[in-house]
């Protein structure tokens, strides 16, 4: 199930960063740089990204197997450390490791893509809303509130259904006619999750933008004759970006899980293409399906999302420090 971000708490955190509010009284050394755990998190993420990026290379050099073909020799549900399948196989006899690697690709593309859509649209709208206040803000905020009123899952499902291309026509003789070009499942997911993310990210950006826009250096810029656009981009945006960057990292984790939830509902990345979400979805009946095919992607998702969360926090703290030191 998609995990909802608690908007109020994240908004509050982003806003506090802007005003240099009460910092950590412990003054721990974790604030300088990323800290040991931060580096572990960053390393894990870099590793995952690299592996996902190099998936085709890995497959062609036989480091990993083909993720979609069944291995006739291995049994279904082979456990870990089976000969030839270090992480075992799933119930369709496909190699778990290679599915994991290709799945990383799909999940990360969906995660990053959705957040990119959310950030570009939501971030821009939130920035404008917080800067201009007044009527523009009221109008945009109402829009965000309307979108947020939809249960996220329902909204995502509706969007997916709306964007899904019609099923390929089947000719009278049973042959499948070439389907009309539509969006691929991944593109649909990016757009759907992205649209769901827009109001959330917009609200958070708006909060930060609001606080920074009311600082006196913005007024000083106006007093020198700068136009609104210039003030927004040159004065407010650079201050809003660090907070948004950390929110983005957190959101990628949420988007990955959202894809997982949609996979469980059957509208995620389409099999046989692998994604972490649909691996979990396919293998989720614990009694009947092999355990390793379920737990391995779960563990990987867990660590990845945790790493993203931790890094998001570390980034935010690092930039908070600079501000409150003034």
């Amino acid at each position: 199930m998609p995990v909802d971000a608690p908007p109020a708490a994240v908004e509050a955190q982003a806003a506090v960063g802007a005003t240099g509010g009460p910092a950590d009284p412990e003054g721990s050394s974790a604030k300088r740089g990323l800290g040991a755990v931060g580096w572990v998190a960053a390393s894990w993420l870099i590793f995952v990204i690299l592996v996902a990026f190099l998936a085709p290379v890995l497959e062609s050099t036989e480091i990993i197997k083909d993720p979609v073909s069944a291995d006739a020799e291995a049994g279904p549900g082979a456990p870990l450390f089976t000969e030839g399948h270090i992480l075992g196989t799933d119930k369709s006899r496909r190699d778990v490791l290679s599915r994991l690697v290709w799945g990383a690709r799909s999940s990360l593309i969906v995660g990053v893509g959705a957040v990119a859509v959310g950030m570009l649209v939501g971030g821009a709208l939130g920035l404008i809303s917080g800067f201009r206040r007044g009527r523009a803000d009221t109008a945009l905020s109402s829009l965000f509130d309307i979108l947020l009123a939809f249960p996220q899952l329902v909204l995502a499902l509706s969007l997916v259904a709306f964007l899904k291309p019609p099923p390929p026509e089947v000719a009278t003789d049973g042959d499948v006619v070439e389907a009309a070009g539509g969006l691929t499942a991944i593109q649909i997911l990016i757009i759907a999750i992205g649209i769901v993310a827009i109001p959330l990210l917009a609200r958070i950006t708006r909060a930060t933008s609001l606080t920074w826009s009311q600082r006196e250096f913005v007024l000083a810029g106006r007093a020198q004759g700068a136009r609104g656009l210039r003030l927004m981009i040159r004065e407010v945006l650079p201050n809003v970006l660090p907070a948004m960057f950390s929110v983005a990292l957190l959101s990628i984790g949420i988007a990955i899980i959202a894809e997982g939830g949609l996979s469980v509902l059957g509208v995620g990345v389409e099999p046989p293409q692998a994604s972490w979400g649909n691996m979990i979805a396919e293998n989720r009946s614990v009694n009947r399906d092999p355990l390793n095919a379920l737990f391995v992607p779960m563990v990987v998702v867990f660590f990845t999302v945790m790493a993203l969360n931790y890094l998001g926090d570390a980034v935010r703290e690092r930039f908070d420090v600079r501000e409150s030191s003034l």
Partner: protein
């Protein structure tokens, strides 16, 4: 006043003004060091004080001087990463090593503090009445009615009209001046013997300031309290303190009875301070003698006198060796190798006026070139959950900020 609030005070042996043999508070060589990831920050070093009941000690200094840290160190309100050494004896009892339970018995009942910002010193979601009776409940054995009566009497004694109605109000329903009065009422609720007033009027308008200071003075007289008044405003200590200690860079650099300090100051910093403040009795456009430079870096304090870098009279010895606090025999202490004050050239508050001259074009303006390294600008530790002071290397120069 026969209000129950004073009953407890009356039970204790009444002491007379100015005739005490035993000081109420004895502080010896108190030092407070904050641990930070760049090393220890020596916020307060080697402070020695004596205070009698009924007297007011003014501690004056700028941001970074250590004055606020000092008052909190004496009370014991320091965060976990602060280390204190030395001795603090209150009515004979050593407080430095006292545990939290012991300190809690003393806080409120014996020692109390009035903080700078009335907005944040009060709990915004708790009614005034509850906040006042909180410490009564902790320390005194009163019934509910007695507590309520005490609270009403306290509010009346701090000059808040319609006290019964105020008990049920929230802080945001009161003005700044009223809030500060409530803060004072809370501090006085259990009749403490020692009151710390940490910049009690900095956040208030000047007309309200006078009212609040009058109030503190009146309460002090009535209860025979000792008051430690911490401020950056020389005007406030001049008119309200019996004795003044001037702090700079974490140390006391001069200490004397008020009259003596203003008329026979010995430390160049005190002199420089007096010369740099604009005053009502100076004509318009008088050139102020600015002190160039900035307070010292408490993370890496200079080897010699802490004021040497900014002192117009500094000699080589001043940069090499740090002077000790010296008593000139009349209870006037100062920390300087070459104190000012040869009689004929003595700067006094009067001579500041007579020597004032109007600004000319081309008068030198003080430059301020020292810029901190990027790496060195980490925030200092927070004090009591407030935002940390600006980095030790680039000082906090906001008048309202804690040192």
């Amino acid at each position: 006043m026969s209000a129950p609030s004073l009953a407890k005070t009356a039970d204790r042996p009444l002491r007379t003004h100015d005739g005490d043999d035993e000081p109420l508070l004895v502080v010896d060589n108190l030092s407070t060091t904050f641990a930070s990831d760049q090393g220890p920050i020596r916020a307060v070093e080697d402070v020695t004080l004596r205070l009698q009941r009924g007297r007011t000690l003014g501690i004056v200094g700028e941001s970074g001087s250590g004055k606020s840290v000092l008052s909190r160190s004496i009370m014991g309100l320091v965060p976990a990463y602060a280390t204190r050494t030395g001795s603090i004896r209150y009515e004979g009892t050593e407080l430095l090593d006292a545990g939290p339970r012991e300190l809690r018995k003393i806080w409120g009942a014996q020692m109390a503090m009035v903080f700078q910002d009335p907005m944040t010193a009060l709990n915004p979601v708790q009614k005034i009445g509850a906040q006042i009776t909180e410490s009564i409940r902790e320390h005194l054995d009163y019934s509910k009615t007695q507590r309520r009566d005490t609270a009403i009497a306290l509010l009346r004694s701090v000059g808040i009209p319609e006290p019964e109605r105020r008990l049920k109000q929230y802080p945001h329903e009161l003005s700044g001046g009223m809030r500060q009065r409530v803060v004072i009422a809370i501090a006085l609720a259990c009749g403490p013997h020692l009151l710390f007033a940490d910049e009690p009027t900095t956040a208030l308008d000047v007309t309200v300031q006078a009212q609040i200071l009058d109030l503190i003075e009146a309460q002090q007289a009535e209860r025979n309290m000792a008051v430690i008044l911490v401020t950056h405003d020389l005007g406030v200590v001049a008119t309200r303190a019996d004795e003044i200690a001037v702090m700079y860079g974490g140390r006391i650099v001069e200490q004397a009875p008020t009259q003596v300090l203003f008329r026979q100051m010995r430390h160049p910093y005190t002199e420089a301070l007096l010369r740099s403040i604009p005053r009502l009795d100076l004509p318009s456009h008088t050139r102020l003698e600015a002190i160039s430079g900035r307070p010292p870096d408490l993370l890496h304090p200079p080897q010699g006198c802490r004021f040497a870098a900014r002192c117009p009279y500094a000699q080589p010895k001043c940069h090499a060796e740090e002077p000790e606090l010296v008593d000139d025999g009349t209870g006037h202490l100062f920390r300087c190798w070459y104190p000012v004050g040869i009689a004929s050239e003595q700067t006094t508050i009067d001579s500041v006026v007579t020597n004032a001259h109007v600004r000319q074009v081309g008068d030198e303006i003080a430059t301020d070139d020292v810029v901190a390294d990027d790496a060195a600008t980490a925030p200092g530790p927070a004090v009591d959950g407030r935002p940390p002071a600006a980095p030790a290397s680039a000082d906090a120069t906001l008048a309202e900020e804690d040192s």
